[in-house]
Protein backbone atom coordinates (compact mmCIF):
# COMPACT_ATOMS: atom_id res chain seq x y z
CA UNK A 1 0.00 0.00 0.00
CA UNK A 2 1.37 3.45 -0.96
CA UNK A 3 1.74 6.15 1.76
CA UNK A 4 -0.97 8.25 0.06
CA UNK A 5 -3.37 5.31 0.07
CA UNK A 6 -2.63 4.78 3.76
CA UNK A 7 -3.41 8.44 4.44
CA UNK A 8 -6.69 8.17 2.55
CA UNK A 9 -7.59 5.06 4.48
CA UNK A 10 -6.75 6.76 7.75
CA UNK A 11 -8.87 9.82 6.82
CA UNK A 12 -11.77 7.53 5.97
CA UNK A 13 -11.33 5.71 9.28
CA UNK A 14 -11.32 9.00 11.23
CA UNK A 15 -14.47 10.17 9.42
CA UNK A 16 -16.19 6.86 10.13
CA UNK A 17 -15.19 7.14 13.80
CA UNK A 18 -16.47 10.69 13.87
CA UNK A 19 -19.81 9.63 12.41
CA UNK A 20 -20.05 6.78 14.87
CA UNK A 21 -19.22 9.13 17.73
CA UNK A 22 -22.26 11.30 17.14
CA UNK A 23 -24.80 10.19 19.70
CA UNK A 24 -28.13 9.40 18.13
CA UNK A 25 -30.90 11.20 19.95
CA UNK A 26 -34.08 9.22 20.29
CA UNK A 27 -36.49 10.46 17.69
CA UNK A 28 -39.52 9.77 19.86
CA UNK A 29 -41.21 12.70 21.58
CA UNK A 30 -39.46 15.40 19.56
CA UNK A 31 -41.44 18.59 19.97
CA UNK A 32 -41.68 20.51 16.71
CA UNK A 33 -39.76 23.78 16.88
CA UNK A 34 -37.22 22.51 19.39
CA UNK A 35 -33.52 22.06 18.74
CA UNK A 36 -33.09 18.53 20.00
CA UNK A 37 -29.96 17.39 18.28
CA UNK A 38 -27.94 16.68 15.19
CA UNK A 39 -30.80 15.73 12.86
CA UNK A 40 -33.01 18.71 13.65
CA UNK A 41 -30.00 20.97 12.90
CA UNK A 42 -29.19 19.02 9.75
CA UNK A 43 -32.77 19.35 8.56
CA UNK A 44 -32.88 23.13 9.00
CA UNK A 45 -30.85 24.36 5.96
CA UNK A 46 -32.33 21.73 3.61
CA UNK A 47 -35.92 22.41 4.59
CA UNK A 48 -36.18 25.67 2.61
CA UNK A 49 -35.81 25.50 -1.18
CA UNK A 50 -34.74 29.16 -1.37
CA UNK A 51 -31.72 28.30 0.81
CA UNK A 52 -31.02 25.04 -1.01
CA UNK A 53 -30.81 26.51 -4.52
CA UNK A 54 -28.52 29.34 -3.40
CA UNK A 55 -26.15 27.04 -1.52
CA UNK A 56 -25.97 24.55 -4.38
CA UNK A 57 -25.41 27.50 -6.75
CA UNK A 58 -22.37 28.58 -4.71
CA UNK A 59 -20.86 25.16 -5.38
CA UNK A 60 -21.84 25.27 -9.06
CA UNK A 61 -20.26 28.69 -9.50
CA UNK A 62 -17.14 27.67 -7.61
CA UNK A 63 -16.71 24.61 -9.85
CA UNK A 64 -17.27 26.78 -12.93
CA UNK A 65 -14.64 29.29 -11.79
CA UNK A 66 -12.13 26.51 -11.05
CA UNK A 67 -9.32 26.56 -8.48
CA UNK A 68 -8.97 28.25 -6.02
CA UNK A 69 -12.55 29.58 -6.13
CA UNK A 70 -13.88 26.01 -6.09
CA UNK A 71 -12.94 25.60 -2.44
CA UNK A 72 -12.58 29.24 -1.39
CA UNK A 73 -16.23 30.15 -2.03
CA UNK A 74 -17.63 27.16 -0.09
CA UNK A 75 -15.26 28.04 2.78
CA UNK A 76 -16.35 31.69 2.72
CA UNK A 77 -20.08 30.97 2.65
CA UNK A 78 -20.42 28.86 5.85
CA UNK A 79 -18.09 31.18 7.78
CA UNK A 80 -19.98 34.34 6.83
CA UNK A 81 -23.25 32.46 7.19
CA UNK A 82 -22.27 31.64 10.77
CA UNK A 83 -21.60 35.38 11.32
CA UNK A 84 -25.14 36.02 10.06
CA UNK A 85 -26.43 33.23 12.30
CA UNK A 86 -24.68 34.89 15.23
CA UNK A 87 -26.35 38.24 14.43
CA UNK A 88 -29.73 36.50 14.10
CA UNK A 89 -29.27 34.70 17.40
CA UNK A 90 -28.40 37.85 19.36
CA UNK A 91 -31.37 39.64 17.80
CA UNK A 92 -29.44 42.18 15.71
CA UNK A 93 -31.87 43.87 13.29
CA UNK A 94 -31.09 43.10 9.63
CA UNK A 95 -34.10 44.10 7.53
CA UNK A 96 -34.83 42.71 4.06
CA UNK A 97 -33.24 39.31 4.68
CA UNK A 98 -35.97 37.42 2.75
CA UNK A 99 -35.48 39.68 -0.29
CA UNK A 100 -31.70 39.28 -0.09
CA UNK A 101 -32.05 35.47 0.12
CA UNK A 102 -34.25 35.43 -2.98
CA UNK A 103 -31.84 37.83 -4.71
CA UNK A 104 -28.99 35.43 -3.94
CA UNK A 105 -30.69 32.80 -6.11
CA UNK A 106 -31.15 35.35 -8.90
CA UNK A 107 -27.57 36.65 -8.77
CA UNK A 108 -25.79 33.32 -8.25
CA UNK A 109 -27.97 31.60 -10.85
CA UNK A 110 -27.32 34.48 -13.25
CA UNK A 111 -23.57 34.23 -12.62
CA UNK A 112 -23.61 30.50 -13.46
CA UNK A 113 -25.87 31.04 -16.49
CA UNK A 114 -23.68 33.81 -17.92
CA UNK A 115 -20.42 32.12 -16.82
CA UNK A 116 -19.35 35.34 -15.13
CA UNK A 117 -15.70 35.40 -14.10
CA UNK A 118 -15.18 38.33 -11.72
CA UNK A 119 -11.94 38.67 -9.69
CA UNK A 120 -11.77 36.17 -6.83
CA UNK A 121 -12.17 38.87 -4.17
CA UNK A 122 -15.34 40.18 -5.86
CA UNK A 123 -16.85 36.68 -6.06
CA UNK A 124 -15.92 36.14 -2.41
CA UNK A 125 -17.57 39.40 -1.32
CA UNK A 126 -20.75 38.63 -3.30
CA UNK A 127 -21.01 35.12 -1.86
CA UNK A 128 -20.17 36.46 1.61
CA UNK A 129 -22.92 39.10 1.53
CA UNK A 130 -25.52 36.54 0.56
CA UNK A 131 -24.15 34.08 3.11
CA UNK A 132 -24.67 36.72 5.83
CA UNK A 133 -28.38 37.02 5.00
CA UNK A 134 -28.91 33.26 4.74
CA UNK A 135 -27.23 32.78 8.12
CA UNK A 136 -29.21 35.62 9.65
CA UNK A 137 -32.51 34.03 8.62
CA UNK A 138 -31.43 30.68 10.09
CA UNK A 139 -30.08 32.26 13.28
CA UNK A 140 -33.23 34.29 13.90
CA UNK A 141 -35.29 31.09 13.57
CA UNK A 142 -33.08 28.87 15.77
CA UNK A 143 -35.28 27.49 18.53
CA UNK A 144 -34.25 26.86 22.14
CA UNK A 145 -33.42 23.24 22.84
CA UNK A 146 -31.39 20.65 24.61
CA UNK A 147 -28.23 20.40 22.59
CA UNK A 148 -26.82 23.52 21.00
CA UNK A 149 -23.65 21.81 19.86
CA UNK A 150 -25.21 18.89 17.99
CA UNK A 151 -27.85 21.16 16.47
CA UNK A 152 -25.18 23.62 15.21
CA UNK A 153 -23.02 20.73 14.00
CA UNK A 154 -25.87 19.34 11.89
CA UNK A 155 -26.63 22.81 10.61
CA UNK A 156 -23.04 23.53 9.48
CA UNK A 157 -22.59 20.05 8.03
CA UNK A 158 -25.79 20.28 5.95
CA UNK A 159 -24.69 23.66 4.57
CA UNK A 160 -21.28 22.30 3.65
CA UNK A 161 -22.78 19.23 2.02
CA UNK A 162 -25.08 21.41 -0.10
CA UNK A 163 -22.00 23.24 -1.38
CA UNK A 164 -20.26 19.91 -1.98
CA UNK A 165 -23.31 18.77 -3.98
CA UNK A 166 -23.04 21.91 -6.10
CA UNK A 167 -19.31 21.33 -6.65
CA UNK A 168 -19.89 17.66 -7.55
CA UNK A 169 -22.53 18.64 -10.11
CA UNK A 170 -20.33 21.50 -11.34
CA UNK A 171 -17.49 19.14 -12.19
CA UNK A 172 -19.31 18.34 -15.44
CA UNK A 173 -17.91 21.70 -16.53
CA UNK A 174 -14.85 19.92 -17.94
CA UNK A 175 -16.89 18.58 -20.89
CA UNK A 176 -18.44 20.70 -23.64
CA UNK A 177 -21.94 19.31 -23.05
CA UNK A 178 -21.37 19.75 -19.33
CA UNK A 179 -20.75 23.47 -19.73
CA UNK A 180 -24.11 23.84 -21.43
CA UNK A 181 -25.83 21.70 -18.82
CA UNK A 182 -24.22 23.76 -16.05
CA UNK A 183 -25.47 26.97 -17.60
CA UNK A 184 -28.89 25.31 -17.78
CA UNK A 185 -28.65 24.58 -14.05
CA UNK A 186 -27.79 28.25 -13.54
CA UNK A 187 -30.93 29.21 -15.46
CA UNK A 188 -32.94 26.87 -13.20
CA UNK A 189 -31.51 28.54 -10.07
CA UNK A 190 -32.17 31.98 -11.58
CA UNK A 191 -35.84 31.08 -12.23
CA UNK A 192 -36.16 29.70 -8.70
CA UNK A 193 -34.64 32.88 -7.30
CA UNK A 194 -37.07 35.02 -9.30
CA UNK A 195 -39.98 32.95 -8.02
CA UNK A 196 -38.88 33.46 -4.42
CA UNK A 197 -38.16 37.14 -5.05
CA UNK A 198 -41.70 37.54 -6.34
CA UNK A 199 -43.00 35.91 -3.18
CA UNK A 200 -40.78 38.08 -0.95
CA UNK A 201 -41.81 41.31 -2.63
CA UNK A 202 -45.55 40.61 -2.53
Amino acid sequence: MKPNDRSLLAVAAILALLAAALPGDANAHIVKGEAVGFFSGFEHPISGLDHVIAMVAVGLWGAQLGMPAMWLLPVTFPLVMACGGFLGLIGFPLPGSEIAIALSGVCLGGAVLLELRPPLWAAGILVGIFGLFHGYAHGAELPPGQNALLYSLGFVLATGLLHATGIAIGLIHRWQWGRLALRGAGAFVLCGGMFFLWGALL
Partner: protein, 180 residues
Protein backbone atom coordinates in the same frame (compact mmCIF):
# COMPACT_ATOMS: atom_id res chain seq x y z
CA UNK B 1 -21.30 7.48 31.10
CA UNK B 2 -21.12 3.88 32.25
CA UNK B 3 -19.82 1.23 29.85
CA UNK B 4 -19.76 -1.51 32.48
CA UNK B 5 -16.06 -2.05 31.76
CA UNK B 6 -14.64 0.20 34.46
CA UNK B 7 -13.84 3.90 34.85
CA UNK B 8 -10.95 4.00 32.33
CA UNK B 9 -13.24 2.78 29.55
CA UNK B 10 -15.97 5.13 30.78
CA UNK B 11 -13.54 8.00 30.25
CA UNK B 12 -12.56 6.74 26.78
CA UNK B 13 -16.19 6.40 25.70
CA UNK B 14 -17.07 9.80 27.18
CA UNK B 15 -14.41 11.40 24.98
CA UNK B 16 -15.44 9.39 21.91
CA UNK B 17 -19.12 10.23 22.30
CA UNK B 18 -18.66 13.95 23.02
CA UNK B 19 -18.25 15.98 19.81
CA UNK B 20 -17.38 19.06 21.89
CA UNK B 21 -14.24 17.13 23.01
CA UNK B 22 -13.56 15.05 19.93
CA UNK B 23 -13.94 17.69 17.20
CA UNK B 24 -11.53 20.37 18.48
CA UNK B 25 -8.88 17.73 19.25
CA UNK B 26 -9.11 16.32 15.70
CA UNK B 27 -9.08 19.77 14.08
CA UNK B 28 -6.25 20.98 16.32
CA UNK B 29 -4.32 17.81 15.52
CA UNK B 30 -4.77 18.42 11.79
CA UNK B 31 -3.59 22.02 12.24
CA UNK B 32 -0.50 21.06 14.26
CA UNK B 33 0.30 18.33 11.74
CA UNK B 34 0.10 20.79 8.85
CA UNK B 35 2.56 23.08 10.66
CA UNK B 36 5.11 20.31 11.18
CA UNK B 37 6.62 17.84 13.63
CA UNK B 38 7.90 20.39 16.18
CA UNK B 39 4.41 21.88 16.53
CA UNK B 40 2.82 18.45 16.74
CA UNK B 41 5.13 17.09 19.43
CA UNK B 42 4.84 20.15 21.69
CA UNK B 43 1.08 20.41 21.24
CA UNK B 44 0.56 16.69 21.80
CA UNK B 45 2.26 16.96 25.18
CA UNK B 46 0.54 20.21 26.20
CA UNK B 47 -3.01 19.29 25.19
CA UNK B 48 -2.93 15.93 27.00
CA UNK B 49 -1.17 17.23 30.15
CA UNK B 50 -3.43 20.25 30.52
CA UNK B 51 -6.55 18.15 29.86
CA UNK B 52 -5.58 16.06 32.88
CA UNK B 53 -4.67 19.18 34.90
CA UNK B 54 -8.00 20.85 33.98
CA UNK B 55 -9.95 17.78 35.05
CA UNK B 56 -8.07 17.54 38.34
CA UNK B 57 -8.61 21.26 38.97
CA UNK B 58 -12.36 20.88 38.40
CA UNK B 59 -12.52 17.88 40.76
CA UNK B 60 -10.67 19.74 43.51
CA UNK B 61 -13.01 22.74 43.31
CA UNK B 62 -10.90 25.04 41.14
CA UNK B 63 -13.16 24.80 38.11
CA UNK B 64 -14.74 27.64 36.19
CA UNK B 65 -18.45 28.50 36.02
CA UNK B 66 -20.58 26.93 33.24
CA UNK B 67 -20.85 30.19 31.31
CA UNK B 68 -17.06 30.66 31.25
CA UNK B 69 -16.53 27.05 30.12
CA UNK B 70 -19.16 27.38 27.37
CA UNK B 71 -17.75 30.71 26.18
CA UNK B 72 -14.20 29.36 26.28
CA UNK B 73 -15.22 26.30 24.24
CA UNK B 74 -16.93 28.46 21.61
CA UNK B 75 -13.93 30.81 21.44
CA UNK B 76 -11.51 27.88 21.08
CA UNK B 77 -13.65 26.37 18.29
CA UNK B 78 -13.47 29.68 16.42
CA UNK B 79 -9.76 30.22 17.03
CA UNK B 80 -8.61 26.69 16.12
CA UNK B 81 -10.98 26.55 13.14
CA UNK B 82 -9.80 29.86 11.70
CA UNK B 83 -6.14 28.99 12.27
CA UNK B 84 -6.59 25.77 10.28
CA UNK B 85 -8.76 27.40 7.59
CA UNK B 86 -6.08 30.03 6.85
CA UNK B 87 -3.23 27.59 7.64
CA UNK B 88 -1.73 30.26 9.91
CA UNK B 89 2.07 30.14 10.44
CA UNK B 90 1.92 29.97 14.25
CA UNK B 91 5.21 29.45 16.18
CA UNK B 92 5.46 26.07 18.00
CA UNK B 93 5.29 27.72 21.45
CA UNK B 94 2.03 29.52 20.66
CA UNK B 95 0.62 26.34 19.14
CA UNK B 96 1.46 24.48 22.36
CA UNK B 97 -0.10 27.32 24.37
CA UNK B 98 -3.30 26.98 22.38
CA UNK B 99 -3.23 23.25 23.09
CA UNK B 100 -2.82 24.00 26.80
CA UNK B 101 -5.84 26.30 26.70
CA UNK B 102 -7.92 23.69 24.88
CA UNK B 103 -6.88 20.96 27.33
CA UNK B 104 -7.53 23.11 30.39
CA UNK B 105 -10.99 24.32 29.30
CA UNK B 106 -12.26 20.96 28.02
CA UNK B 107 -10.73 18.99 30.92
CA UNK B 108 -12.49 21.33 33.37
CA UNK B 109 -15.76 21.12 31.44
CA UNK B 110 -15.67 17.31 31.41
CA UNK B 111 -15.11 17.00 35.14
CA UNK B 112 -17.09 20.03 36.35
CA UNK B 113 -19.37 19.23 39.24
CA UNK B 114 -17.70 15.85 39.83
CA UNK B 115 -16.35 14.82 43.22
CA UNK B 116 -12.74 13.72 43.55
CA UNK B 117 -12.46 9.94 43.73
CA UNK B 118 -10.20 7.19 42.40
CA UNK B 119 -12.85 6.16 39.87
CA UNK B 120 -13.13 9.69 38.48
CA UNK B 121 -9.35 10.08 38.31
CA UNK B 122 -9.17 6.81 36.35
CA UNK B 123 -11.95 8.06 34.10
CA UNK B 124 -9.97 11.27 33.53
CA UNK B 125 -6.91 9.15 32.69
CA UNK B 126 -8.98 7.29 30.09
CA UNK B 127 -10.04 10.61 28.57
CA UNK B 128 -6.47 11.92 28.57
CA UNK B 129 -5.22 8.76 26.87
CA UNK B 130 -7.93 9.18 24.22
CA UNK B 131 -6.96 12.82 23.69
CA UNK B 132 -3.33 11.77 23.27
CA UNK B 133 -4.14 9.02 20.75
CA UNK B 134 -6.69 10.96 18.68
CA UNK B 135 -4.46 14.04 18.51
CA UNK B 136 -1.46 11.93 17.50
CA UNK B 137 -3.46 10.17 14.76
CA UNK B 138 -4.91 13.44 13.41
CA UNK B 139 -1.50 15.14 13.39
CA UNK B 140 0.18 12.16 11.76
CA UNK B 141 -2.41 12.31 8.96
CA UNK B 142 -1.41 15.80 7.91
CA UNK B 143 2.35 15.78 8.58
CA UNK B 144 3.19 13.78 5.43
CA UNK B 145 0.40 15.25 3.26
CA UNK B 146 1.39 15.96 -0.28
CA UNK B 147 -1.95 15.94 -2.06
CA UNK B 148 -3.47 19.40 -2.32
CA UNK B 149 -7.06 18.23 -2.09
CA UNK B 150 -6.50 16.53 1.28
CA UNK B 151 -4.99 19.76 2.64
CA UNK B 152 -8.00 21.63 1.24
CA UNK B 153 -10.38 19.14 2.91
CA UNK B 154 -8.60 19.70 6.24
CA UNK B 155 -8.84 23.48 5.84
CA UNK B 156 -12.53 23.25 4.92
CA UNK B 157 -12.99 21.22 8.13
CA UNK B 158 -11.33 24.09 10.00
CA UNK B 159 -13.75 26.62 8.53
CA UNK B 160 -16.68 24.42 9.59
CA UNK B 161 -15.37 24.27 13.17
CA UNK B 162 -15.01 28.07 13.19
CA UNK B 163 -18.60 28.40 11.92
CA UNK B 164 -19.71 26.02 14.67
CA UNK B 165 -17.92 28.17 17.26
CA UNK B 166 -19.63 31.33 16.00
CA UNK B 167 -23.07 29.71 16.18
CA UNK B 168 -22.32 28.47 19.70
CA UNK B 169 -21.26 31.99 20.72
CA UNK B 170 -24.58 33.34 19.44
CA UNK B 171 -26.40 30.54 21.23
CA UNK B 172 -24.67 31.41 24.52
CA UNK B 173 -25.62 35.08 24.18
CA UNK B 174 -29.24 34.19 23.50
CA UNK B 175 -29.92 31.14 25.66
CA UNK B 176 -26.99 31.02 28.11
CA UNK B 177 -24.38 28.31 28.74
CA UNK B 178 -24.69 25.08 26.77
CA UNK B 179 -22.48 23.18 29.26
CA UNK B 180 -24.41 22.29 32.39
Amino acid sequence: MSTGMGPVFDGISHFGLSPEDFLPVVIFGLFAGLRGTAHSRLSLASVALFWFAGGMAAMTGFGLPDLALSSGTAALFMLIGILLAVNAPLPPGLCAGLGAGLGLIRGMADLSGVEQSVAHILSLLGMTASVFCVFAIAASLTIPLKRAWVIIAARVGGSWLAALGLLLAGWILRYGAFIR
